[in-house]
């Protein structure tokens, strides 16, 4: 479904993505992890062109998406994106957040869009908040609305950029549960996350990144029990025992 071919990206002199080659199949749930600054957010943001690339190609459903003249808005409406900071529209109600794209981009009739949005809100357990303002919701609820909003255009692919990193610990679970539900329904998902429990239980594959390169790709069981690359071993040791690291 997604093919990276020799993808490179620079921020000035900084080589953010280095020769990325990767294929993500339809229905796959892929977790991207790695230390901060490793390029994982940059990587996921290139898939819907929130970030440009400097060389190589990225194909989505066979179409080179970084080519000039791509119908960017159509492409993006087919890729759901969930941000770390939720980015709900504060001047719109929860329901309006979820109907904006279907009405504006998809050309849906309001009644039809409402019905669909209510079904999605019900799916993330927030149908009763449809008329609330985003500011009235907890972080976990906001993120679940953001997921419903991203699903409103019925995209075949969902991208999550650290979806639980801005949440209080007690709200992480509710968001991960919604994501797990999506995975169970066969959605293709790419997640940048530090939630190793989610990676272990839900992901089909884990990509480990450091310094702009994918250093390791493995099934979760393999990755957690037999990490191959020394950087991956170090990373896993660090996140398991954050206080035990020698100074």
């Amino acid at each position: 479904m997604i093919q990276f071919d020799k993808v490179n990206k620079w921020y000035g002199d900084y080589h953010a993505l280095v020769d990325i080659d990767e294929t993500i199949a339809k229905g796959e749930v892929v977790v991207v992890c790695g230390p901060s600054g490793s390029g994982k957010s940059t990587l996921i943001r290139t898939i819907n062109r929130l970030e440009a690339i400097d060389s190589g190609t990225i194909a989505f459903e066979g179409e080179d998406i970084h080519r000039r003249g791509v119908d960017l808005n159509r492409l993006r409406s087919r890729i759901g994106f969930v941000f770390q900071q939720f980015n709900l529209f504060p001047h719109l109600t929860v329901l309006q957040n979820c109907t904006l794209a279907p009405i504006e981009v998809g050309g849906a009739r309001p009644a039809q869009a409402h019905e669909k949005a209510m079904a999605l809100l019900d799916r993330v357990g927030l149908a009763h908040k449809a008329n609330a303002w985003p500011a009235e919701l907890s972080g976990g609820q906001q993120q679940r609305v953001a997921i419903a909003r991203a699903l409103a255009m019925a995209p075949p692919l969902m991208l999550f950029d650290e979806p639980t990193s801005a949440l209080d610990p007690e709200m992480v679970g509710e968001v991960l549960l919604v994501m797990q539900g999506l995975a169970r329904d066969g959605m293709t998902i790419v997640v940048v996350t530090h939630e190793m429990g989610f990676a272990r239980d839900v992901a089909h594959r884990v990509l480990f990144m450091d310094q702009g390169r994918i250093l390791e790709r493995a099934e979760p069981h393999e990755f957690f029990n037999h990490p191959q690359h020394p950087r991956a071993r170090q990373f896993l040791a660090d996140i398991r025992t954050p206080f035990a690291r020698p100074a």
Partner: protein, 245 residues
């Protein structure tokens, strides 16, 4: 002072109208209102051009903004009054001169207010809108501008207030607005300049004060809606129940 007001209040309010041209306070209000009304869409368009991803739109408007901002309004009035006729071929009347000057001036200042308002909206809002597939124009119209306009309100009022006062520059080219009429009255009465100009000052103050209070009221109303106060949530009386399950 009572005498003064009793004798001249009609003249102060409407000038020589209906025998002569409309003037006085009514002309001042009319000029300010028209200028703002016309400057608003121009300011919005220029402001959007200032943040446009299209350089061909952004650059000339940026130049225009810097140019107009660097010239006193008085000089702009002179340019329009004395130079414009050599281009158009006929004399620009005083009212049109002031109106054009104010519209250009306000348009540019409003453009900067609009730009600042747009850039004040968190970047994530634009990204989220684009990530959903909204075009730049739709993202602006449906997501960014509605939020930007709220934060712009205090600066907008500031600009409106200064426009009301700036109409007094019409005096220089003999436009019969309130300041001009007041000075006419003063030269007829001669002995009460303090009283005449006190009334004139009070008139400007009242206009600006009412506008400021109106804006303050708007702001308060807006703030009530923005605050996460679940009890006031329209249409969802149960929204306060904290449910993070």
């Amino acid at each position: 002072m009572i005498d003064l007001i009793q004798t001249y209040w009609v003249y102060f309010l409407i000038g020589q109208y209906p025998q002569g041209p409309l003037g006085g306070v009514v002309l001042t209000v009319l000029l300010a209102a028209l200028a703002l009304l016309l400057a608003m869409p121009i300011g919005l368009a220029l402001g959007l051009a200032r943040v446009s991803p299209v350089a061909a739109l952004r650059r000339p408007v940026t130049v225009l903004v810097y140019l107009v901002r660097g010239i006193p309004l008085l000089l702009m009035v002179f340019w329009i009054y004395f130079y414009l006729p050599t281009v158009t071929g006929h004399k620009t009347d005083q009212f049109t001169t002031m109106l054009v000057a104010l519209v250009v001036f306000d348009g540019v200042y409003l453009a900067e207010i609009v730009r600042a308002g747009i850039q004040g909206v968190p970047k994530g809002q634009y990204e989220a809108a684009r990530a959903l597939g909204l075009s730049h124009a739709r993202a602006m119209r449906r997501v960014i501008l509605p939020q930007a306009l709220r934060s712009m309100l205090p600066s907008l009022v500031n600009q409106f207030v200064s426009t009301i006062k700036a109409t007094s520059l019409g005096y220089i080219i003999g436009l019969t607005e309130a300041s001009f009429i007041a000075s006419q009255i003063n030269s007829q009465v001669l002995v009460h300049p303090t009283a005449v100009y006190l009334v004139l000052s009070l008139m400007y103050f009242l206009l600006c004060f009412c506008l400021s209070r109106f804006a303050f009221w708007l702001e308060r109303r807006q703030a009530r809606r923005d605050l996460p106060r679940p009890a006031r949530s329209p249409g969802s009386p149960t929204a306060s129940a904290a449910s993070s399950a």
